[in-house]
Symmetry: D2
Subunit: 235 residues, 4 copies
């Protein structure tokens, strides 16, 4: 297994070298994919691919192409994969394919779920203008979709879903209620001991002293039901 | 295993007898559930429960209480479970709980997915007025939902989602495009050889003769992309 | 969905009629399979297929061909599927293919797991001599298995695994410890109130009276760890 | 999500600092776990935990405690998780619990599968003497296991399974056939162009030249069926 990973890293390094030699300025993308065609894919998900890129000193050279269906197959939501890529500066492109959440292989359907499209667009907007971020559609259809019009309908439907998702995401960001909920959830880290923790200045001795002084903390609600209601209301 | 199933049937038969003895007119409900608390639940899903009820002569005495989270855990969609129950005259009640499609256990959240709620309501409307059909909410919350208001928000959000689902379902049925698509998909069974097949009058000899006469049939598109676009447009 | 199921039943009835007409004495087999090629297969697992056969009056005409890989994909163990078929008089044949327990599609490998083979053979032996029971191997290999010898090795290995499973199963049955454990687990149904329950003579009134008389029952251990140890020791 | 990961890193760094301050020489362990208690665990599996440790400069300070049940829940085999940890110098301890491969939550059973135990022991032996490597058993039992003897049986059975696994693993390593198969599978990387690739000296220009010179390569069989047969014969 170590040898296979080494070989893969050598291959990708050679691709990077070649890119530089021919002065190609495009972004090199890796599309994480679990379970297919081998069970133990070394690019299982965004985090696994990040661990590989970091280990072999390749993290500056590649970005990720996230596909929702692959996210599902790896046990994550698409949004989780997009955010994992985004916060590590790796979100390069999105493959606008989705799959059935319960079937364990790649069904390569186009997006029709407005909720999923809204979450995707939240990541896209937050990823900002300076990052490469495009969508691509795999031009495949289901076995039963034998009319040439099916191809058009699938693309129109997928594109419309993404457009509705973008509008909803913009609405949610402009409204700000969801962001405010998240800000409040973590605000204890904005001041006093919390900000000391974030700065790495609070060691266990300090924390123990504070814990003894303050006693048992009250457990604050995560307000997840409220967050879900706000999100759904925007759809 | 056979002995356990026999015991279960005896117990349910005794419950039916008792119900009659005390002149209780309510409907007895079984809630299919896979994986929990035992791996090989004998009420895994609607079809498994139907096979049990038929085998022990209990199908007239029980109806099913379908829960979306249990549907997911059994590998089906909620709509599939509802329709399996409905077309067998077994849809008695709906447990308005849902779960994460990728986590393998019962998370008991309330519904927030408008698409899922619309599919549920299509089954409810088609099940008609003469059938028992109610919704119940399990009054539980997530471990993190510690405010008393979380309970209210969860119920309001779940109820609103079902209300939006009902409106969407009514719109889809009134519009009729989706039903027309399904009617056309199966219309070859409305006349000639198709209707003979439905009446059980077309044996293999007749079918072979027709197949030789007509030659290779053209494969008609299932129009699934169109069906999904129509559905999503109603949300 | 109802119409599709009706059509399937008509087709299978026509096959039965044809079989009789041409005086074919072989057994007609249905191989339950979930998720492929359609998500909502009407022959999802043994219990689902039983519910279909019962509903359409076809249970006497078909037996099941159980495949371990399909069992896994439906969320069950192979042994559960075999026993479900066996206790309903439906175990007709076994497809000696297995799959990876965590990959969600049909990998069509041959059996190499001795434990799984032993459980299979326990069902085969218990199914008895009067029932049709054969094994078939799908003559496929993995994409990477490009040598002609791979085909031989796969069959030899699969056959050896089944042979070892048969020996282990015979040993477990001859030894009798496991059967005795099961007998003891259910012995309260062999006498007194338990045998009354099995005969359908104990109604709720009788049971309530006994429950009040005896008080809170002690919870007997299921001895599952012991059962697993006995089973593994035979491998 | 980024903020939560930062906090986790701060906390672990504080633990490392505290360990040094009190001159504690033990190994700090992280036990990767997916899906529970939150869906998007930041320590999902070995590779995810490695990506986290690398990003925050903590890889030298922590080793992993691999649990087979958690491996299964993350979509991997236990052996894959152990090897991922081992080849990255992170295999610190093994939690000798396993789970049902098809139930989606932590069942915390003790190991009874000889094949799984053999694979585990192959990783343990290869991890060598200089590494911390111990096993621990979580002292829990199933809900039904109410006898005090069940606790003893479970531990004896788990320990025996590991002992049989160790013997099998030693036999496989001493025999050498499996290792030889792997050596041959990758031997094209031992000489000429292959060893140049491993040394990072073969760029795309060199590889293209060789590819043109040699023409279409013959596809060598992966001999997976043979590998599985050798492995199973040792059990």
């Amino acid at each position: 297994m170590k040898r296979e990973l080494d070989h893969l890293a050598r291959f990708l390094q050679a691709a990077v070298d070649w890119k530089k030699k021919i002065r190609f300025n495009g972004t090199l993308l890796i599309e994480p994919k679990p379970q297919e065609p081998t069970k133990h894919q070394y690019d299982w998900d965004a985090a696994t691919t990040l661990s590989f890129l970091q280990k072999y000193g390749l993290s500056g050279e590649f970005k990720l192409n996230i596909e929702c269906n692959h996210a599902t197959l790896s046990g994550h939501s698409c949004h989780h994969e997009l955010e994992t890529a985004r916060i590590n500066g790796l979100l390069g492109n999105i493959d606008a394919n989705t799959g059935d959440p319960q079937i364990g292989w790649d069904t390569d359907q186009f997006l029709t779920d407005i909720g999923e499209a809204t979450l995707i667009m939240l990541s896209v907007i937050r990823n900002g203008r300076t990052c490469t971020r495009r969508f691509n559609f795999d031009a495949k259809l289901r076995r039963e979709s034998t009319d040439v019009t099916d191809m058009f309908i699938a693309h129109i439907s997928g594109m419309d879903t993404l457009a509705r998702g973008l509008r909803n995401a913009a609405k949610l960001i402009e409204d700000g209620t969801l962001d405010e909920l998240i800000r409040k959830r973590y605000e204890s880290f904005d001041s006093e001991i919390g900000s000391q923790i974030e700065k790495g200045k609070a060691d266990f001795a300090t924390l123990e002293k504070k814990a003894m002084e303050w006693g048992e903390p009250s457990v604050a609600s995560g307000k997840q039901e409220l967050a879900e209601m706000i999100f759904q209301s925007a759809l």
